[in-house]
Subunit: 196 residues, 2 copies
Amino acid sequence: MSLPHVLLGMLAEPASGYDLKQRFEQSVRYFWYAELSQIYPALAKLEKQGLLRSKQAPSDKGPSKKIYTRTGKGKRALQEWLSDGPVLRTERLAYLTQLFFLDEIPNARRIEFMQELRDDFAQRLEELKLIERNWASEDARFPDNLPDGELVKHMTLRSGLMKYAMMVEWCEECLGRLESRQESTGHRNSRNRKVS
Amino acid sequence: MSLPHVLLGMLAEPASGYDLKQRFEQSVRYFWYAELSQIYPALAKLEKQGLLRSKQAPSDKGPSKKIYTRTGKGKRALQEWLSDGPVLRTERLAYLTQLFFLDEIPNARRIEFMQELRDDFAQRLEELKLIERNWASEDARFPDNLPDGELVKHMTLRSGLMKYAMMVEWCEECLGRLESRQESTGHRNSRNRKVS
DNA sequence: CGGCTCATGTAACACGTTACATGATTCC
DNA sequence: GGAATCATGTAACGTGTTACATGAGCCG
């Protein structure tokens, strides 16, 4: 339902499948993920539908690339997807369903689970903070005078910063509740952050 | 990777496929969704693997049901999934990828998009607040003296309450930034909440 | 009797993951 | 020459969605 549209969005600038995979990793990896083996056939299909055009081009390093360009029809398909409004309530958050059933394992394990969650969110938060710091130092227009294309990217980044900061706090709150039960059964559990 | 485990979790109490669908809608719909046509074959497969057992039972209304019960092996499989730690970085948030490319449509449309987002998050927040209010009024142990099974459910609920409250705020912030651009091009746009 | 909810499924298709296959170029 | 990276794909399998099929029991 969405990968083809994400590819159309990423192809505002022409790129090969391999390039697109890198772009995924650098930009949208916090809310979208795709394998190369998924990207290649998706691009081929979009070309067959006339939403993309491709040409062979030599590479700086390695074998020649197949560079895809968005057609007018491709751009309109993307705009239509965006104009249809947000795609909502399709999220699947496996870690929350796990938490929902976490009473099926012993409390000490529950605490380990929440620590792992907290550490991962904290790490993502640091990664995003770094991106924001670099951006701020490299672009004088940051954050209030950005052009439209950068503004929406910054809004996306802000949502990640706010979300992960909140999730870390929430994990701490949960750990407090779990640990108070641990203590009452005679055990004691360090609250130290795991190093990864 | 996960639906079978979610079903095992939901089957702490025996139920039919149809019952489970109802349970999905009442409890985990905010972070997991499944169609009946996905649930039935998944249950059959779990039974074939010996993680569930089934028996026919009459229904209050309508035809007879196939009631599934978790086996010891099924419970261990669930505990193993939970003990392996949180399943992370598998999220796919379509609305954030849309936002990321939102500069491809006119600013007026961008504002409509964010209003729709905000309204949906606000609605989810109200739904969760209602659940919390009802719970608080029906259970004297709420929220600090809940048994383990309810504690993890409450932690899950809290994450939703905190998340959607934050997302509504974030949407308002984004709308402010988008509308300030709208005004500077001579248009004016009401900030009123849409009624659904 | 007709329409609703209850109840269980199948079929066709789309989407996503893991493993495998192939070969060019670059760096050590 | 061997390992790493660049580059494009296919195959098999698992997961998820939409549409369709079937029939029991209940309410008006």
